[in-house]
Amino acid sequence: MPNDRLLDELVADLRPVRPRRVGRDLLLLGVIGAVELGLFLLFGAARHDIMIAMKLPSFWWKVGSLGALTVTAGITAVRSFDPSVSPQRGLRLLPALIGAALAIGWVIDAAGAGGAALWARLMWHHGIDCIFAMVTLSIPVIFALGLLMRRGAPTDRKGSALAVGVASAAWGALVFVFNCPHDDPFYIAVWYLAGCAIVSLIARLVLPRMTRW
């Protein structure tokens, strides 16, 4: 059995530590997110017709859906960095949130004029640009959450990594909403989902290896 020497070494290495607090971590993430969004808007990245767009239901659909996803996944991720808290309950909520977002988008779409061919509405070359922007904008939050996860003690690393990925992806997409000129729910559902899926997948594959303890 581990002898007293190991205990003595651990005691000799003892330094005061500040207990981790979920509220403090969430506040830190909120500040990082606010700074990113502030800089994004400050440098003139907002779409030129933002005032008009803000009167459209599709704009608030995007903001509301992505905001709900960011908050739910972010809280799930940060809470799961405590070894005794599993991310699974929060993760089970996410498909329901995404499903609700898509259903609301469908209602908005059905209420609009529609009629154009789906393929034309996809505008794939714009879509690729959107994905690139969303992935880039998710980097500050995925980096911050990744560091918090590494500092924490997640016992379900794959689940925590997925929650980190969804939170970062949804946040990146939310910031991009202020720039993206597209209001077509079909376009948004396809490309935003693709962008979020890419970031979530990367986080799910990479973070568990980097946060082993």
Binding site: L7, L10, R15, P16, P19, D82, S84, A153, T155, W213
Partner: protein, 178 residues
């Protein structure tokens, strides 16, 4: 554990502030608790390393203990995480020779005491149960297990590998699987 548990929380709180005496006492008591924890969950030859790994994890992750919450669930979660680690390590070393103290008659109690592990085995396929029980818990070689069960040596290794992977998944999927 009631009073002791609250006391451990207070000791960890003091340790987080840098109180060495409180920390030394906590680690000593936690070590005994961990030995009991792993004795019920791992073959005897794995207990030492598991206890040591967990003590180091407790040390490195002590800042993640929230003093407003009870200590034991936190400790149990760390111990369980390291238990899963050990199950995975057993899987990686499917064909390793076990330590000499395994499966020696004098140490029979040591190899049969992993009661929780034995209960979890019941959730596996019979061939997987048998391969793990013989090689990992009772210390038979792969060749001997093959002769006893009629499974080929390759199949014994595959059944150990898959069985332990499934065990780790079962434990991970059920936070209170004890």
């Amino acid at each position: 554990m009631g009073d002791g548990e609250d006391q451990w929380g207070a000791l960890m709180l003091a340790a987080q502030s840098g109180n060495s005496a409180a920390y030394r006492r906590l680690l000593g008591e936690v070590r005994e608790w961990l030995i009991r924890f792993y004795t019920r969950r791992l073959p005897a030859s794995f207990i030492d390393d598991a206890v040591q790994d967990t003590l180091i994890a407790v040390h490195e992750k002590r800042h993640t203990y929230d003093p407003d919450r009870p200590f034991r669930p936190w400790l149990a979660a760390v111990a369980r995480y390291k238990w899963i680690d050990r199950l995975r390590a057993m899987k990686r070393h499917t064909t390793d020779e076990l330590a000499d103290d395994v499966a020696v008659p004098d140490h029979e109690s040591a190899v049969t005491s992993a009661t929780v592990l034995r209960q979890l085995l019941a959730e596996l396929k019979p061939a997987q149960q048998e391969a793990i029980r013989l090689v990992k818990l009772e210390g038979f070689s792969v060749e001997e297990a093959s002769a006893r069960t009629g499974q080929s040596q390759s199949l014994i290794k595959i059944n150990i590998h898959r069985g332990l992977a499934k065990l780790a998944t079962i434990v991970q999927g059920h936070p209170h699987a004890e």
